[in-house]
Amino acid sequence: MKRTAIRDQLSAISGQRSARNFWRLTVLLFTHYSLLITAVILLPFTAHSADDRNALLAGMDQAEILRLGERIYREGILPDGKPLPGYVSGDVPVDGTAFTCVSCHLRSGLGSFEGNVVTPPTNGRILYQPREPFIKGSEFIPYIHNYAVYLPVRPAYTYETLAALISTGFDPTGRSVVSVMPRYEMSARDMAILIAYLDTLSDKPSPGVDKSEIKFATVIVEGTDPSAVRSMLTPIEFGIDRKNSLAVAASKNPRVALMSYNMSGNLTDIKFSLSRWVLKGPSTTWKQQLENYYKTEPVFALLGGITNGDWEPVHRFCEEKGIPDLFPIVDYPVISQKDWYTLYPSRGVRQEGEAAARYLHSMYDLFKGRSIVQIIRADRRAEALARGFRETWAETGHPPAEDIILAKGEKLTAEKLQQIVAKEKPAALLVWDDASLLPAVSSLVGKPDKPGLVIASGTYLGKSLWAVPEEVREFLYMTYPYRLPQDDARYDKAAKRVLAGKPINLFDPVIIRQSYLTNEILGKALLEMRGEYYRDFLLDTIGMMADQYFPLYERVSFGPGQRYASKGCFMVQLGKGKSPKLVRRSEWVTQ
């Protein structure tokens, strides 16, 4: 890392490698050395004096200042609506709309790691403290999560030196910081607005956190199957109980503290609690119920949560209040590119439809222009599958598939399916329905217009997926959004570990594994948060995690702002014989 920093500072002279250029450089240096010194002395006073600061912001109310500051920080837009201009790598112009502070310092302002680039915090609380190679009071932080060991020490910033850093790249020691950090051009007033915002970043403790406790809650929508609720709760409660009992043991015996998982540093002393927030009645009343729960008990974050239908009001509530929710168990998550606070295990049911679209896209040339037909049962699940397919298919630029929606309550019959196939002669047929599609599809065997492949949803078929008739197996493809059972078996031991000795058949096999994810990711994130329990930093930290391999999904992956952990889905067929296996026909993710 240090080497990189040094090389970086040398960047400006490259391209001047010949001897002639060396002399030119030397002359240039002498000519401008004095200019530099003058500039370093003058800059802070000319542009950004602290006394001016109040004058500059006179007449603006604090909320307005912070709104404008946040816009510079997150969107790279100056108060006058123009993009914030800057230079990176010495002379590469960048304007704020391509990327800005938030891309590197992240939403919490507490910095990031990517490969060999370490971006330190940029919040007032930390900037106005000197930097030592360790973080005071947090010496327990593992080396790899401690930005300070990678960067030189520096004294505390003042308002003036901070403004100088942002515009010239010189820190208070006179060091020119690595050229990945852009040098920004902005007026003294805009600088004052930006710094006022930096001063508030990850400053006041997040609600639900104090020295002795972090409060969590989980949201349960009344009417959800009790065994599903139990399956969601058990792994999370296991994690919390274990954490708390280890904390007790550790307080009696410091060696336990050192050994125990999930417990490094100040986490040892912190108790976790989990409340259940049960939502009753129509979803239009949930917002008020959530407000009431939150008012009596502000929590740091929500863990899991479960519904068998709507979730959107909870999602909106979390956005509004800025409360993270880690992996609620929902079939229909809110799909958004920019919402921040809810992390879902996957994109839900629709992810299977999306996978089907990508799969067909990969073989589209073989269809030679023949049509694709979707048969959609009139219910929420089938509609979500169809929508996933439709939207992803549109992205690929193909003409839309023919949608045939069954009447409410109607099940697909052999007769109806044969009519459709005879009329449309599709190259591929998607049937979004439950097991009732099987006899209908069987009836296509031997028919002249039988499509080359029929696609159905593995999760909608449920257990019937294992009962696909032999004669259909060869042309029926199913979406399967999990690791194949034969491959997942080796993760069973891990999954059972969180059931606290209860037999696994008491639980929903998918839900306990989804909830397992909550427990693991929370533990891992808290360990990496170096004692900074801020909500945005929790999400920033998860966003910096490498790919993870747990029970259920082939792989879960994260990334700044990514909100759907499992992105994949296999296309499978049922193998031959009496106790068939699923046979993989695609990769986990195909674009």
Partner: protein, 219 residues
Amino acid sequence: MIVANQTLGDQLSVVSSQLFPPQRTRPLQARIIHYALLVTAALFLSLTSAASADNRTYQRSVEKYAMPDVTLINQNGNRVRFKNFLPTDKPVVVDFIFGTCTTICPVLSAGYASLQQRLGADTEKVHLISITIDPENDTPAVLKDYLKRYRSKPGWDFLTGSRKDIDRVMKAFNANIPDKMSHYALTFIRMPKEDNWVRINGMMSTSEFLAESQKAGIK
């Protein structure tokens, strides 16, 4: 995501490039930064005996690579056969980035954007290719949105695909990026009718990028 529609033109100014004359003078502050960098650099030069005038933020080498025959997908959702997609009649530049990347991609992509600026009206005379190292998240829509933020012009493609195929491409370039969080900056340049690639490990300034491009033959 942020959508941009102003032009970069205003902010474009060029320093220390002896290859391309400056288009307009830089603002005082920017000039100061530049001089400051020079001074710091010179101080390091005189202090570090190991340092020579050859020190850069990147390393450069010339390599031969065999490209795999895989099909990838571009920002418009079009399937492209990677082998045929690499033009042989014009210069091609390849880098590895991803849509939600923090520090490294912005810097690399700003470099592409800046190069396109310098190419003038005919941006297609050089083919810039970015390949995602996060194919799981980077759908064509994500790629398109990313290019829009950098105001890419024709001639800059962003490719995704299956993880297996992307891995094969990375392997072919001897780019060992096991996980997107262990990302590092790599750029490859190949000239028309050439077999050799110039491999650049690290981040370049515009002038360095242009110098490297020019050395490789991009005019």
